[in-house]
């Protein structure tokens, strides 16, 4: 689903991502971990056609990132780390516009939005001004934005940040269901290592723009003689993730 070689991106003197190789197969849930500023968001923005790599090549969802960005966009969903809606709009209206931009017809769009609002536990939010949403509700609207067109490949950038435990568990179930029922491939970042442990088939750890470890949670723990992913993380980056997350 994703094959990247030597993907790099610099911002002026800052080398945010330094030549990473990625291979993700269909139906995998891959966790992309790393301390703040490691290059996670930059990598995701490159793979989602939003940011031009300084160098490297990639095929995403079977299409070349450079030659065929439109076809890549059609096949992927992206939930960014930040917000997706401004303060002056209605939840339903924004979601329906997004669905239409993905090519859904008007009736399909309306139906799909209703469905997702229910699935993401946002009942009756259709006519709500976005400014009136709580942080966690807004986050779930962001998540819905990436699911409207039933993408085969889903990029989630810290999707559960700001969600309460129940919403988080709900999202995990949702992600698992997408994979089990529809074979959706999921590439997600998170700062919650127990989340990565519970949800992901495979973990990639990035630090200073380079992949420093990869494997299933069990393999990583075995390789570093560690009991938890936290210990693995500490061993390969020299940092506690929580410390980084708080910074």
């Amino acid at each position: 689903m994703i094959h990247a070689r030597g993907l790099s991106r610099s911002f002026g003197a800052v080398e945010a991502v330094r030549g990473i190789d990625l291979d993700v197969s269909q139906g995998e849930i891959v966790g992309f971990l790393g301390p703040n500023g490691a290059g996670k968001t930059t990598t995701l923005r490159m793979l989602t056609t939003l940011l031009r790599p300084t160098s490297g090549t990639a095929t995403v969802a079977g299409r070349d990132l450079f030659a065929d960005p439109m076809e890549v966009r059609r096949r992927i969903g992206y939930v960014p780390q930040g917000n997706t809606v401004g303060p002056f709009s209605m939840v339903g209206e924004e979601l329906r516009l997004q669905a239409r931009l993905y090519g859904l017809r008007r009736a399909e769009a309306a139906e799909r939005v209703d469905r997702l609002l229910t699935e993401l536990d946002l009942p009756g939010m259709d006519q709500r001004p976005t400014a009136s949403l709580s942080g966690g509700q807004k986050r779930r609207v962001d998540i819905a934005m990436g699911l409207l067109h039933r993408p085969a490949l889903l990029f989630l950038d810290e999707p559960t940040t700001g969600l309460d435990p129940q919403s988080r568990a709900n999202l995990w179930d949702h992600v698992r269901r997408l994979r089990d029922k529809d074979g959706v491939t999921v590439f997600l970042t998170t700062h919650y290592l127990e989340e990565a442990d519970a949800l992901c088939d495979r973990i990639l750890i990035i630090d200073h723009g380079r992949i420093v470890a990869s494997g299933t949670p069990a393999e990583l723990k075995a390789a570093h003689g560690a009991g938890t992913l936290d210990d693995v993380f500490l061993a390969v980056t020299g940092r506690e993730l929580r410390e980084g997350a708080a910074a």
């Binding site: 939003l50 439109m70 930040g82 997004q98």
Partner: protein, 242 residues
Amino acid sequence: MSALVPLTAYYLRATFKSRFAVVFGAVQPLFFLLLFGPLFARSGVGSWDTLVPGLLVQLALMSSGLVGFGIVFDQRFGVLERLRVTPAGRTSLLLGRVLKDSVVLLVQAAAIVALGYAFGLRAPLPGVLLGLLLMVFLSVGMASVSYAAALTIRQELFAPLMSTLVIPLMLLSGALLPMSLAPAWLDAVSRFTPFRYAVEALRALFAGSYASSEVLWGVLVSAVFVVAGVVIGTRLFQRENA
């Protein structure tokens, strides 16, 4: 292009939710009509038929020139990235906004023309309609340039820079006083601004001379401006694309 319809509809709905903003956008030319028009009509320089076309181009400049401000917010709130990650055509992402701006402008311009008739405008209706058409066409270029500027220059600089820039462009277009009154150097400078040709074309249309060279030049220059604006605007929506 299939994204163009939902985008334009969405932006129109959002804009007309706040009618105040639509009305407020036309306030400046309305002041000119109300407080400067009576003076102008008695100055011997020209009639309402000379002034109203100028005020329409002024409106197109002021109203469309500042539309880019809207995209600054979209950029800040992540809306722009959300739109850019969809397969919607990059030209549609630009033109959806621009078409909305054109509709708003047309509503505002209609108000000015109606008021102009109340004051003493005598222009033939076909000429006025053709003039409005040319003005809207020109505004597509202006709005595109405004969005391009908003996506390029630093966010906090956009509003002061653009609102300052439109003033010399407006004065040089001869919107307020015809450039036939200008000293040679000013006349020469004004020929380098596209809006002068639009003003002269609108005045010719309002005077009923539809096949004049002014109209031809106005259409030609506006067309070049529009194409350039849309191409540059689309490029900028594409800019960071992989």
